[in-house]
């Protein structure tokens, strides 16, 4: 159900954009109004989310420790998997965000006869996720050439490295392929791994179909159908500089690409994609494991009812005296 529904959502989006552009002639709406709405929703939504998380305090220091603690001087601490300093935490977070450290631990449990439990090598999810995310990042960086004039040099570097493969005269970007492969892999594992299928919601398929739609329309434009790149840049720069204009000669395929990106942006803050912001705040990773060395303060720590020693002695005084246990009041 989730799959069909999500596919339908993306299908309807594509149809709607096509209809708007081709039949109704609403190029300005799709090309120049939609992006503002989408970016506003994206930024507003993300700020709302981050403020929402930020408003709730972190009452306790609860890192999940993935290695040896710092204790006695002659025991070597695991400073990245169990950091006790801020530098260590930065290192741990960098590993998580840039290399998906925790996902790298993944294994697959299997029950064999005997009974014998085995934990098999399973780094595919890690690899797939890493390939997808890094490709995504590089594709986004490459797209900056549409939004900048002059184009900053790092964009050219990325293009140069990414496009070292050539098909005829044109560069074949590696990240175009890996992005699509990555998304496809993530989608297929949702279809075929029974547990993952069981937990999947429409909200898990929608982003993948959107990304697939964006990727495929982009690849079609670049390698198969062709698009007037100068005109696209004119549109993009116009939108960016708040002087939106709709140049002639941009095909519907581009509007589909552009419209789906807008949809993804607007959807972002209200979906699981907010993990992009959330991962930075996660209290099991971004705190040092030093709660015995430095007191962590809970802003809402409130007094509680306790059973005092006096109350205790009051109840047990005679028994304590008989047992030779010292008491406060004879």
């Amino acid at each position: 159900m989730g799959v069909a529904f999500s596919l339908a959502v993306v299908g309807v989006l594509i149809l709607a954009i096509t209809l708007a552009v081709e039949v109704l002639g609403l190029r300005f709406l799709v090309g120049a109004v939609l992006p503002y709405v989408a970016v506003a929703v994206f930024l507003g939504g993300m700020v709302y989310r981050l403020l929402g998380w930020g408003r709730s305090p972190v009452p306790f220091r609860i890192p999940t420790t993935g290695g040896q603690q710092r204790s006695l001087p002659w025991i070597k601490p695991s400073s990245l998997d169990n950091p006790s300093s801020t530098a260590g935490v930065i290192g741990r977070m960098a590993l998580e965000i840039l290399l998906f450290r925790s996902l790298f631990r993944n294994t697959k449990a299997e029950l064999h006869g005997g009974p014998h439990l085995a934990y098999h090598w399973e780094k595919w999810l890690w690899l797939g996720a890493l390939v997808f995310h890094w490709s995504m990042l590089l594709v986004v960086i490459r797209h900056l050439r549409f939004f900048t004039d002059p184009v900053p040099s790092f964009v050219y570097w990325v293009e140069g490295i990414d496009g070292f493969l050539r098909v005829g005269l044109r560069a074949l970007y590696l990240t175009d392929i890996t992005l699509l492969l990555g998304v496809t892999y993530l989608l297929l594992r949702r279809f075929f791994i029974p547990q993952v299928r069981y937990i999947s919601l429409p909200g898990d398929y929608v982003p993948l179909f959107l990304l697939l739609g964006i990727g495929l329309s982009g690849v079609l434009m670049r390698y198969f159908v062709g698009v007037d790149v100068a005109a696209v840049k004119e549109l993009a720069l116009g939108v960016l500089t708040f002087r939106p204009r709709i140049p002639e000669g941009i095909g519907v395929l581009f509007y589909i690409h552009w419209g789906l990106v807008c949809a993804l942006l607007a959807y972002f803050p209200f979906s699981k994609l907010v993990h992009m912001g959330g991962i930075f705040l996660t209290p099991t990773r971004n705190l040092p494991n030093d709660s015995r060395a430095r007191r962590h303060v809970n802003p809402w720590n409130y007094p509680v009812k306790v059973h005092t020693y006096e109350e205790y002695e009051e109840e047990f005084r005679e028994k304590m005296k008989l047992a030779g246990i010292p008491v406060e009041k004879e």
Partner: protein
């Protein structure tokens, strides 16, 4: 009580999820897989809401009339108080990496025991009542109404999680399902829904000082029993003191070590060690519990029980606190105590009186783990050890969840273990250290009526022990946790018969060469020292 299926039966586990979605599958309370309801008098003793007689098996759970408002109000409050909860509700990508990391999923195949679905039990309610999309589109975004069925499902599955945090280690976003379980249990608590196995110890601990409700004189008797036993084995009479003002150190152990086999042997080990090094310490009958079942109840109850440690240390005027071997106890001390009940102004930065070592890592809480303390003693050559006295054992070591994943406590116990015994074999690497598997009975689930679920949850741990038993003939499972010592014997008997369970300081006690001791012929358990471990149990 339900009869326990045979291991051959239990191990027929189907990992394929059912056709029907989990939201459409109501919970079935099958005997052997859940905990009895809390007796009203315990709730009354603690001033907790809605005390009444009830049972999970019955249709009517006798919830207060405005139960839904109570839960939603409580949920809102916790979202505002805990960034962890709020964030974990929002950012799960349902990648499924955590699914087969949970021992309860491995042992049951029940999809709702995948940590991600355990979290969805709460998340679905969060979506429905606290997000715009959930309010508008409901089931489409995985939201659902809060019904009594949901409350029952929460009770079943939040008490089928031992709060071991193994899932959180593997989650790319660090989502800690233990944290979610803790919140779920707090919400249930607002309706007076607790298991008796947890709330009875809490009530005892609150009033009498320890989970089993040992009154001060009886506590002293039990310690004296250990003292006699030590004398039988070593010829030396150790002299622990109780509630003694002016002692340098307050020693707090989990009470399980004082009254239950095999914990008492660990306790004997502590007493022998302290005697041998001439430590100026005292025990307390008021703070006679290191463990804290409040951790399994709510943050507030955790704080109420934990407060005793600092209060008693202040009253007795000790310099610092030394803590015994216990898992969840150390989660509370390491990650909560100072924040909840600190700062520990009356105490001083802990320094070992024997070696002069400053325990820098405990300079704020002022509480040191016995293994840190002992490892430091051994390192400085302050005690003499004869590891051959443990030659009857082939030992493997179980990392308890809390010291492992909430402290990173790996090398200290291993260092000691290597010094006190000659034959130590590690279990496979996916099952130890930070990846350790729970005993299956932590988190307050160690009641007899829950035996089938405990055996299921403990299956991955037991299976790894079985591996080293087959490969090296291991016959002893060492650990540094009182719950482990209480529950692993049953788990071993069920899955890997022939493997005993011991605390680390029991082995220290065996190996410790004491000044003026009689020649040792037996272990602390009274079993002959000579006698060959190799052909034993085969």
């Amino acid at each position: 009580m339900a009869s326990l299926p045979k291991p051959e039966e239990l191990v027929k586990i189907d990992y394929n999820p059912p056709r029907r979605g989990w939201m459409d599958n109501p919970v079935e309370f099958r005997r052997g897989t859940w905990l009895y309801a809390a007796k009203p008098r315990h709730l009354e003793a603690l001033g907790l809401p809605n005390p009444r007689e009830w049972s999970p098996e019955e249709e009517d759970w006798k919830l207060p009339p405005e139960w839904r408002e109570i839960v939603l109000e409580g949920f809102k409050e916790r979202l505002e108080r805990f960034r962890s909860l709020k964030l974990f509700m929002d950012i799960c990508s349902r990648c499924g990496a955590c699914a087969d990391k949970c021992h309860f999923f491995i042992g049951t195949g029940d999809p709702r025991n995948m940590p991600v679905l355990r979290a969805e039990l709460l998340r679905s309610i969060y979506r429905r009542y606290f997000t715009l999309s959930g309010r508008m589109t409901g089931k489409l975004v995985g939201a659902r109404d809060l019904t009594e069925e949901v409350i029952k499902e929460w009770f079943y599955y939040f008490y089928q999680c031992t709060e071991c945090r193994r899932c959180s280690l593997f989650c790319p976003f660090g989502i800690d399902t233990a944290e979610i379980t803790m919140m779920g249990r707090e919400l249930l608590g607002l309706l007076g829904i607790y298991p008796d196995w947890i709330i009875a110890p809490v009530a005892n601990c609150y009033r009498v000082g320890n989970h089993v409700g040992i009154e001060p004189h009886a506590f002293r008797d039990m310690v004296d029993f250990c003292v006699d036993e030590i004398e039988n084995v070593t010829g030396i009479r150790v002299e622990p003191t109780f509630n003694r003002k002016g002692a340098e150190i307050l020693f707090i152990a989990p009470s399980g070590d004082v009254f239950a086999d095999p914990g008492i042997y660990t306790f004997m080990g502590y007493l022998m060690l302290f005697h041998e090094i001439g430590l100026d310490y005292t025990l307390s009958t008021y703070a006679s519990e290191g463990g804290n079942f409040g951790l399994f109840t709510s943050h507030e109850v955790m704080k109420r029980l934990n407060a005793k440690m600092y209060d008693e240390a202040r009253r007795l005027g000790v310099k610092w606190i030394l803590g015994g071997e216990c898992g969840h106890m150390w989660r509370v001390i390491h990650q909560y105590m100072d924040t909840m009940n600190g700062p520990a102004d009356s105490l001083e930065e802990p320094v070992s009186p024997l070696t002069g070592t400053k325990f820098e890592n405990a300079r704020s809480t002022k509480m040191v783990h016995i293994c840190e303390f002992t490892a430091d003693l051994i390192r400085h050559g302050k005690i003499q050890l004869d590891p051959s006295r443990n030659d009857v054992f082939k030992v493997t070591f179980h990392d308890s969840c809390n010291p492992a994943r909430a402290m990173g406590f790996f090398e200290e116990p291993r260092y000691i273990l290597r010094k006190v015994c000659n034959r130590f074999y590690e279990m496979p690497e996916n099952t130890i250290r930070e990846q350790t598997f729970c005993c299956g009975s932590g988190g307050g689930l160690n009641a007899d009526e829950n035996m089938e679920m405990r055996m299921r949850g403990g299956f991955p741990r037991a299976n790894a022990v079985g591996y080293v038993r087959e490969k090296y003939g291991v016959n002893l499972l060492a650990c540094i946790c009182a719950i482990d010592r209480a529950v692993l014997p049953a788990l071993m008997d069920y899955w890997v018969p022939g493997v005993g369970v011991a605390g680390l300081h029991e082995l220290v006690g065996n190996a410790l060469v004491m000044k003026g001791e009689a020649e040792r012929t037996t272990t602390l358990r009274g079993e002959p020292l000579k006698g060959s471990g190799d052909d034993e149990n085969t």
